[in-house]
Amino acid sequence: MSISQILSIVVFVGAYILIATERVHRVAAALGGAALMLALGLTNGETAFHSLDAGVDWNVVFLLLGMMIIVGVIKQTGLFEYLAIAAAKRAKGKPFAVMVLFVIITAVASAALDNVTTVLLIAPVTFLVCDRLNLNPIPFLIAEVLASNIGGAATLIGDPPNIIIASRAGLSFNDFLIHMAPFAIFMMAVFVLVCRWLFRSAFKYDEKRVAEVMALNERDAIRDSKLLWQSMIVLALVMVGFVLHSALHVEPSVVALLGAGVLVMISKVTTEEAIADVEWETLVFFMGLFIMVGALVKTGVIGEVSKALADAVGGQPLLAVMALLGISAVLSAIVDNIPYVATMSPIVADLVAAQGGGPQAESLWWSLALGADLGGNATAVGASANVVMLGLAARNGTPISFWKFTRYGIIVAALSIALAAPYLWLRYFVLA
């Protein structure tokens, strides 16, 4: 092993430990690691900023930026509040029916928006409805965040790991719809049934309180109906653009940026308001990660790891898929799944190439996506949405402890992976 390889591993592992242990802010760790890689000559400006394989993946960064701007505008319309209150009234305030409708809304929204945003939108309405019904909001919040991680797995834009995988693997929006969405829909159906048992003690309620939910005026939640229509039309066009992006030879990032630009231009929303919800920290974190992983690619570390893994599972693609699913799920439960997927993507790309491509080899990508997306449900720190939901609950005076979340999350994550394994086996090895 060369000196540059050893140095790049030391910098990478050091930054990774800092990110995982949260001893310093994750952005500082990623940027510090990237700066060290550049300072030590383990990568250079040309590679870091312009290389498609070993540099910042601008498609990922700009896709996230575009969607954050669109979401920032949609948030101002009150649409989500309208949908959730209308759903609670349709459920006639019956707690299980409310939970089912809320988790379905969350899962569907998470497929189109990022999970953290969805959680930020559904939590306030959940507090309100539970307050009106005198219910404990904690089971509802946990169910929603679990649903957001399952729903987010369905599409290319639903979860940041999927965006990284799509860009690194050259997978389209439709590829995710074909390969990931069917399992996400099936898993949601199973999850709804599991909720009945998992949160069974949360469904006792006082029927007299139902009138308080029925008295809420959901139509008044819509603050600007013109903006709502503008946002819905642009979002629909963006979705059509995602579906057609391969045929049109346009990157998803371009579709998202076009949508964001058009929405800001046609609506009365100011530029400041439109970009207020952009999570610049997340974007910078991604850039730092890409430079660090790029240095590992440039120094040949990724190539060596891929070769060793290819030798280990050589001729046993099913073993590789199952091992990747399990390892991804376990690691994503412990550490943030974004750096994990950013690191694993070039390795999986090499493994797919080593197996000569084809549906069985490409199922490694779906294995990585399912493991990382669904494994994040296992613990309170497994996914960004979980952490955000815990923060919201604490601020509302109903704190959810790490173990309280994990008690439910680990069951759902284990069940998801236990069902994902036969799905991958049947779809890509038995029925392929």
Binding site: E81, I85, A123, V125, L128, N217, D220, A221, N396
Partner: protein, 156 residues
């Protein structure tokens, strides 16, 4: 004119008093807030009406303006007022580290000193005291009235 001359008699509430009673005092007498004192009658802080609202309006409604619109008047009142029942003034105040700095001047402070202190602390009330002697409280409306009347260019 000095702060002592501007100070008016003002109701004081203790930390252990009922929060509901303090809110009623603010509401019924149309006061911008009340001065909070400890058991020894030493001023602790000012409890502005806005802080009472901050306490009673659910946090999720404060953060999501769309949700504030879905309540009818009765529902809104029910969601809020019940929160004051059984609470003390101390519970309604922000935590100690986030508590408002006590807006306090001595009786000798000038009108401009009073105005500057209230502007800096965004306080609708200013306590005027020397040692343990509380002279009273200066309100924004009284202070503005004095400033406007003193200005030679004022319409009055």
């Amino acid at each position: 004119m000095r702060a002592r001359d501007l100070a008016e008699e003002y109701p004081l509430v203790q930390l252990t008093d009922s929060a509901l009673a303090a809110a009623e005092l603010i509401a019924r007498q149309r006061r911008p807030g009340v001065v909070v004192v400890d058991a020894d009658n030493h001023p602790v802080t000012v409890l502005p009406g806005s802080q009472v609202l901050r306490f009673i309006v659910p946090g999720y409604v404060q953060e999501d303006p769309s949700l504030a619109r879905v309540y009818d008047e009765r529902g809104g009142a029910e969601a809020c007022v019940g929160k004051l029942a059984g609470r003390t003034v101390k519970e309604v105040l922000p935590p100690k580290d986030k508590r408002y700095e006590l807006p306090l001047v001595s009786g000798e402070a000038t009108v401009m000193e009073c105005a500057a202190m209230m502007a800096r602390l965004h306080s609708p009330l200013l306590l005027v005291a020397d040692g343990d002697t509380i002279h009273g409280v200066v309100t924004t409306s009284h202070l503005l009235d004095v400033l406007l009347k003193t200005n030679p260019g004022s319409s009055e």
